[in-house]
Symmetry: C2
């Protein structure tokens, strides 16, 4: 079995289910920590900051610092900065996105924007959508943190960022650049932050259509786990298989060297 | 030339451009009025009431009463009533839609909805979108007044009802029933209200993709006018031609018998 020098690990369905820790996953992370193997949690969540997510993990006794967390908002901000330093951005989004843009030195404004950046925003309204459409029609580049269509809540499935984004896509006729999994931008920015080449990294996740495809699309080896969205029954039907699979992450620990 | 017993007439681009009256169109309507030919203005606008629209026409000295106006909201309310009397509806929309639903005896509520009805709403927000998605996922039928993607304003093109609707379509994976032009529901409900059979009616409009296709899709003869959206240059490229065309509606007056 190949040794991996770094791990990118999904959160929901891989480390926990909603607010419930997956014990095998906590043991897996403890094993990485013990062997000093670098790891980062890679999430399409654009609303939370690194600290907020790390705090949630620590409450579940999953070993993490804020630097172990890499969100679609962070990837978006880094991607924009790599394309244009100090870019002016009109943003629809929550604290996670606002903080990420600020941290990369981007300027959040409504006027003469270079970019329109969309993340999940539970305070989105018509005026925000109109401002975004007008800026895109005026030539701003259209970026969306992720295409997730729905978010599970206690009330049921409510609109995800992909749904908000589509209102702007339909109105302007312009498709956004998506950053989050299964796209490659979040993977590239995460690997760049981790400072490791892609052949040294293993991408771990439960959702075939986001986590595993993100790895496959980027040329990174993948480890699929059946504790979340994609059931084991779907495995035989998958055209492009993950590099490895385990039923739970405890079964992988002996491969951490 | 065939005599038509009733006329369905588009508004924006046909009777006026924004707030500017098209004089030839006003003369055309005066001629219909003089010959006692029934006519109704057929608009995808879902936000305004009959009275509001009639008032705008009267200010421009275009002859109309509120009963001469038929909106996509009215068609939506009548369509729902024909399917289920006293249906419970969750509504995203403005006064035109609220009044139309009430007038048909439909019950606007958030709970146990039979229908989710979407019209343009300049106060739309995340909570309204979430409530709509939850109701549709719980089995409510999904109806949208119209699919218009953008609305011209002084600021530029801002999101239309089709854009708001798409956020819900994308999140739920369920396509709505659209009511407005070029769909047939608004035509059927308007003809029913006018009390005339389709072979007796002429549909008049400037927008090929909404007005003229609505007529073609319903099997109603069409008169295209080049005072609005679709330019004369596009005419040769049209696969299904309108029954007639004129450059402005004054040229049609001699056919009103």
């Amino acid at each position: 079995m190949k040794r991996y020098d770094g791990y990118l690990i999904d959160l929901d369905g891989t480390m926990y289910l909603g607010n419930e820790r997956i014990d095998a996953a906590a043991e897996f992370v403890a094993a990485l920590h013990k062997k000093n193997i670098p790891y980062m949690f890679l999430t399409n969540n654009s609303s939370k900051t690194q600290s907020q997510i790390s705090e949630k993990l620590n409450k579940m006794e999953i070993i993490s610092t804020p630097d172990h967390v890499f969100t679609s908002s962070m990837a978006t901000a880094k991607y924009i900065k790599h394309n244009k330093e100090n870019a002016k951005c009109y943003m629809i989004g929550e604290k996670g996105l606002a903080d990420a843009l600020e941290k990369e030195g981007l300027i959040v404004t409504e006027e003469n924007c270079d970019y329109v950046v969309i993340g999940i925003d539970r305070d989105v309204n018509y005026e925000k959508l109109a401002t975004a459409c007008l800026a895109i029609r005026n030539g701003a580049e259209f970026i969306s943190t992720n295409g997730d269509i729905a978010i599970p809540t206690e009330r049921g499935l409510v609109p995800g960022n992909g749904a908000i984004t589509s209102a702007i896509t339909v109105s302007t006729g312009i498709e956004p650049t998506f950053v989050g999994k299964p796209e490659t931008i979040i993977m590239d920015e995460a690997m760049n932050t981790l400072g490791l080449d892609k052949e040294k990294i293993l991408m771990v996740g439960d959702n075939y259509n986001t986590d595993i495809l993100a790895g496959i699309n980027t040329g990174v080896d993948t480890l699929m786990v059946f504790t979340g969205v994609t059931p084991y029954e779907d495995y035989p039907k998958l055209k492009h298989k993950p590099t490895y699979f385990v039923h739970n992450l405890k079964d992988w620990i002996h491969n951490i060297k």
